[in-house]
Symmetry: none
Subunit: 224 residues, 2 copies
């Protein structure tokens, strides 16, 4: 299910809790002066209160824009009343949008659903998630439960290819071809060594063994 990450500042959305609507899970997270507590992937929405205890809402806007983790977030400013001058300043500080408070579940839904289609195009970052394992194609990095798996180039290619065809037996021939090795022709037994090395790397990161051997045929990436 798609997850919509929503960041809130200070006491905004006091009564708001995670909820599910229309195939989407809305999760709420506190947003402090240091930015988001945890790093999330996918579309992000931030609702910034105009008045904050220790930091002006405008400054928070600028910080969100300056931080690459949240630079792509859709920032909505929550105003107490409809002051044209404040709206202008909010937009200039980097907000995409504004609502007149207080923030309610309905207000959040309206904003997010109205704009989701537009924003979802942005997140082109390719990424595979298979159980505890996530593979970030852009960063060329794999993680097992957030623990980085240190992989050599060939191992990464192998993992990627296996993960892209889960629950399907891939012969050694498939794997050699899938990694684009032709010259010189690779001995099929070499694949065994590749798999061994990959397994060891995942294990070193505290992971399990998602790679199952199918005797006399090849290997499978077992999903769940």
């Amino acid at each position: 299910m798609d997850v919509v990450n929503i960041f809130l500042t200070s006491e905004l959305g006091e009564g708001l809790e995670d909820f599910v609507h229309d195939q989407r899970r809305f999760t709420f997270d506190r947003l402090g002066a240091e930015g988001p507590k945890r790093l999330v992937e996918g579309p992000m929405w931030a609702f910034v209160d105009w008045v904050m205890p220790d930091l002006a809402g405008l400054e928070m806007c600028r910080r969100l824009r300056a931080d690459p983790r949240t630079a792509e977030a859709h920032v909505t400013m929550v105003l107490e009343e409809d002051d044209p001058e404040d709206r202008r300043r909010a937009l200039r500080a980097g907000a995409d949008d504004y609502v007149i408070g207080p923030l309610t579940r309905t207000a959040v839904l309206d904003r997010v659903l109205a704009l989701q289609s537009r924003t979802s195009e942005r997140q082109a970052t390719r990424r595979l998630e298979l159980g505890a394992l996530t593979i970030d194609m852009a960063a060329l990095q794999a993680r097992w439960n957030e623990v980085p798996v240190v992989l050599r180039p060939n191992e990464f290619r192998l993992l990627r290819f296996l993960a892209e065809n889960p629950n399907r037996v891939l012969t050694r021939e498939d794997l050699i071809a899938g990694l684009g090795k032709r010259e010189p022709p690779i001995d099929e037994r070499t694949v065994d060594v590749w798999v061994g090395r990959l397994r060891r790397a995942i294990k070193a990161a505290g992971g399990g063994n998602p790679l199952r051997t199918v005797r006399s045929l090849g290997y499978v990436f077992d999903l769940t």
Copy 2:
């Protein structure tokens, strides 16, 4: 309505007047040896003539870059003919771009519209914050925990480009293109030297090493 501020040198664009196109107002302003007459906000384009009565166009480029008011402007050099040597020198002097003159309303439109999306992103983030590292686009300065990192121009451009695409493997080709180097074609191995120099500079400021090498592919700016 969005305003696009365009600066012109000397007799360039003699017949050009303010006009409106596609929801944008284009305003033209003279650019003298002392820089722009008035201070403006928002995106700026400067068209610099190669030949000027009292000042060489190249020198004008450098001044624009040195002046914090115009350092972020998009500078287009206007050449009379397509001389590769002149192009090279124009780019080296700080120009982002060039056209073969004379300057017409159409040429201005084309340049500005083609590049606006890219540049407007840049304008939005005058400052990047990535963990201990902050990059000040306006001051052309980077700091690691408030300690200035002394960078040469090329190193700054490299750091900036890497930091603008964090957690993404950038090939040497990407980096060369990202720094806008085309003429003459740059040897890919030179990128290694750039990275080495950049790393050393960050280290000299007491910083860590946010630049990860991805063997046989390129480099990544690792966030967190």
